[in-house]
């Protein structure tokens, strides 16, 4: 009996050891890469398949960037004093507005370039996660340079320290405009920032009272923008230095409010739940979630610690959570372009496509961000998604059709059509690495077994796979 028990123990440990040295295998590798990035190339899958899950997660974390690879647009540091805008003649103002619109488009194209080309898609997924958490919108901020600076800030801290990020975002000029901090003055508080700070950025709904918002708003009075350079400026004369009580504690200023919110366990739990829904499954498991939140808090809010804990929960790897999340428009568009290895010279058309699919970059619908999940998919967006994928796979045919009537178009439209026409995809070349490894094709393209029975060979099979409903899942 004892012998048998020992043998069993040995067998178990040998198996565990073998799993470790043989690595996580291609299915897990595909899952990890897709869930944290946009795609999973065959060679990456082969590489990660050899690593253990922990090694795989460490490899991702080690590759994280703090700066974009794509050079910033030339106007990144420009600032126009709003008082100068008011003094402009009507023609000047129109020209100014046109320029802002153009730069707004450049901004979106710039981020798409980065997502399409980055060696660390995980960094961009996290930056996008923060963009959807600390939302600001070009529609209200109206300054592409400020929105760009915010994006640079989000990337810098994307896998840094959440406390530092929260403090920095609260003084970020785009945020100050977006949530009206700039008009939050002593005696005339504007509650917008204080409310969203608690409801959406830290505690989550229902963990504070209306009075806490009113008092916190007073604490942030005077947090403003320097009209000379567009930087954060504290205006002492607009600051209410009376006593404020937030969550039962006395605070003097906004900085203390932020620290107080960071000290609440609710903040780590709320943030962990948001990360869970982004990376693991629609329904967080309370026990495991608590562990992630605890790991995060005890690390002093190191985002890497949170992501390490999250990606190593059994739930992340559980079979029932594979293909349980719906791809965002960015996942689908950037992911498909990357997966198919399509070179994109001008990403602007895809910025428009994302907007049409419900994810207009730099312009979330409201301060709560994109609701995501099932809300991504309705009949309009599902058909547009399918049409996009279908067109890519027919890139060679559509090219000829488009070139025929391109000259009759206005310059703006011509640019879009041209950009689409420049796309090239050869199914045969793309499929070459799968020769002798045909079984890997569904694994690479679909997060789980197809819902239908895609059939055919070569490019037809490829088309059938991406037309399957499971292609919308990750």
């Amino acid at each position: 009996m004892l012998k048998a028990f020992l043998a069993l123990g040995v067998a178990a440990s040998v198996f565990a050891g073998a799993a470790n040295s043989q690595g996580m295998g291609p299915e897990d590798a595909r899952h990890l890469l897709n869930r944290t990035g946009f795609d999973a190339q065959l060679r990456e899958i082969d590489e990660f398949a050899k690593l253990s899950r922990r090694e795989g997660v460490e490899r991702l974390l080690a590759g994280v960037r703090t700066e974009a690879r794509t050079p910033l647009p030339a106007w990144a540091k420009e600032w126009t004093d709003p008082r100068d805008i008011r003094r402009m003649s009507q023609d000047e103002r129109q020209a100014f507005v046109r320029l802002q619109i153009e730069r707004g488009l450049e901004l979106k194209a710039w981020w798409l370039s980065e997502m399409l080309g980055t060696p660390s898609p995980f960094t961009e997924r996290m930056t996008l996660f923060w963009h959807n958490h600390f939302t600001s919108s070009l529609q209200k901020v109206r300054s592409p340079p400020l929105m760009l600076r915010q994006n640079v800030l989000l990337r810098k801290h994307a896998l840094g320290n959440f406390g530092e990020l929260l403090h920095a975002v609260s003084k970020d000029p785009a945020m100050l405009v977006y949530l009206d901090s700039a008009t939050n003055r002593r005696g005339q508080p504007n509650e917008n920032f204080a409310r969203e700070l608690m409801e959406l950025f830290t505690l989550g709904e229902g963990r504070y009272g209306e009075q806490d918002i009113k008092e916190a708003a007073r604490a942030f009075t005077g947090w403003s923008i320097d009209l000379d350079n567009g930087e954060f400026l504290f205006r002492p004369r607009q600051h209410d230095d009376g006593v404020k009580t937030v969550l039962g504690r006395t605070v003097r200023n906004g900085t203390e409010v932020l620290d107080l919110l960071l000290a609440q366990p609710a903040t780590a739990e709320y943030l962990s739940a948001r990360l869970w829904r982004e990376f693991v499954s629609p329904q967080p498991q309370p026990e495991e979630l608590k562990r992630v939140a605890a790991a995060w808090r005890s690390s002093g809010y190191d985002v890497r610690a949170a992501m390490r804990a999250l990606l190593l929960t059994p739930a992340f790897w559980a079979p029932e959570n594979r293909a349980a999340l719906i791809k965002s428009p960015t996942d689908l568009v950037v992911g498909t372009l990357r997966q198919l290895g399509i070179a994109v010279n001008d990403p602007l058309p895809f910025a428009f496509l994302l907007a049409h699919l419900g994810q207009n970059l730099f312009a979330p619908p409201n301060v709560k961000g994109w609701p995501g999940g099932e809300a991504w998919i309705n009949s309009t967006t599902l058909l547009a998604r399918k049409q996009f994928v279908e067109r890519l796979l027919r890139a060679d045919e559509t090219r000829m059709v488009m070139n025929k009537n391109i000259d009759s178009l206005k310059p703006g439209a011509r640019r879009l059509v041209q950009a689409m026409a420049d796309l090239q995809f050869s199914g045969r070349d793309w499929l070459a690495p799968f020769e002798g490894r045909e079984k890997m094709l569904p694994l690479v393209l679909l997060a789980a077994a197809p819902a239908g029975s895609p059939a055919g060979s070569g490019v037809d099979f490829l088309r059938a796979l991406v037309a399957d409903p499971v292609y919308q899942l990750k």
Partner: protein, 379 residues
């Protein structure tokens, strides 16, 4: 059974769904218009004779001389002029003071309360129309239960297994519908949802014919286009039960006067065009149009020439069978609660009006309770 209970049961049976459904049902169309961001009811339906109003809004208030007077104390924002013919034809009901107890001032939470018809402290997963369609299914020969035109979310139609379609242009929809691929079985909520949408596309495409052409000129811009699509859907013989349109941008914290004027102008022109097109299609008498929003705005203007989030607000109900006039209660600006208006009419009473008086079935399941419908429809 006690006699009183017996009587109650008989009365209930008398007004049961089957009886009422015979008289009307889903051949009557409901068009909901969401005023996204929280419309300023006080500058829409203006209590122009109230001194308190002008005191609270010295800069952004609408001057008594500028309003379109409806009676001695109530007037419309001048941008709503295109609605005057409806008012004069007594086809426009204005319900003042619509809200709910313990109002929530967050956009997301409050619109969720409106969309799901929940209490302020209650979280419901489905939209109120989705629940209504689940309890009282839309006839299978209909092209869809509800159609959300434009906009990325589907609000009151969200959730449940109902046949909901979102589209921007019916012709484009028909061309693309061949890409739908409703194959296989669901395994989790995400896949279930996708398969439901795939199947809905195939069904709707089979029933929606070519678009209808109207003499009516629709206003330019996204709201005008959405109104045109609504009119086309209404004119389609296979039928839909409800259409949701939305007009965004009402969150006027800053520089309200210009923005609000433009938005109300778009709204009024759109609704006037809707009536004109539905008259052409002979559907105006079988259509009920209702506006809604997450909240109104604070009576006291803010420091940025705008208004912050408020509570109760005024809403429009229009249609060929509407009994025009003022309903609800004029704003009591001298009796604010925490700086905001108290509500006089629960928003679920508006929904009950649509469900019980318009469609003719009990609203209990969709609204999770009993709310008194408003008496604003002709027989």
């Amino acid at each position: 059974m006690k006699r009183r209970d017996f009587l109650a049961a008989s009365v209930a049976a008398l007004f049961s769904d089957s009886l009422l459904a015979q008289s009307s049902g889903y051949r009557r169309l409901l068009v909901l218009v969401e005023l996204e961001g929280g419309n300023d009811g006080l500058n829409t339906v203006v209590p122009y004779a109230d001194d308190v109003y002008h005191r609270l809004r010295p800069r952004i208030g609408i001057r008594a001389d500028d309003v379109l007077r409806l009676d001695a104390r109530t007037g419309l924002h001048p941008a709503l002029k295109p609605l005057l013919p409806l008012w004069e034809a007594r086809e426009l009901a204005i319900v003042q003071g619509v809200g709910y107890p313990n109002p929530n001032l967050s956009h997301f939470r409050s619109i969720e309360i409106w969309d799901t018809a929940s209490r302020s402290d209650q979280y419901l997963p489905e939209g109120w129309l989705a629940r209504a369609f689940a309890a009282h299914p839309v006839p299978p020969q209909f092209a869809a239960g509800g159609v959300a035109v434009g906009g990325a979310d589907i609000g009151p139609l969200a959730g449940g297994g109902t046949r909901t379609i979102a589209l921007t242009d019916p012709e484009v929809f028909l061309r693309q519908a061949r890409l739908a691929n409703p194959v296989g079985k669901g395994r989790n909520n995400a896949l279930d949802h996708i398969l439901r949408v795939e199947a809905g596309i195939v069904e709707a495409a089979a029933r929606l014919g070519a678009g209808v052409r109207f003499q009516t000129e629709f206003p330019r811009g996204p709201f005008g286009s959405a109104v045109r699509v609504a009119a086309q859907l209404a004119a389609n013989p296979s039928g839909v039960a409800a259409i949701r349109l939305s007009l965004g941008g009402f969150d006027t914290h800053q520089n309200q006067p210009n923005i609000h004027q433009r938005l109300l102008g778009e709204l009024a022109a759109g609704l006037a065009a809707l009536k004109s097109a539905l008259m052409e299609a002979k559907r105006w008498d079988s259509t009920l149009v209702m506006t809604y929003a997450e909240f109104g705005r604070r009576p006291q203007e803010n420091n940025s020439n705008g208004t912050d989030h408020g509570t109760a607000s005024a809403h429009f109900v229009a249609g060929g069978r509407v009994k025009g006039g003022l309903y609800g209660e004029a704003p009591r600006l001298a009796e604010l609660e925490g700086g905001n208006l108290r509500h006089a009419v629960d928003f679920r009473s508006l929904y009950a009006t649509a469900l019980e008086r318009w469609w003719g079935f009990s609203a209990a399941k969709a609204l999770n309770g009993r709310f008194e419908p408003l008496d604003l429809l002709r027989a």
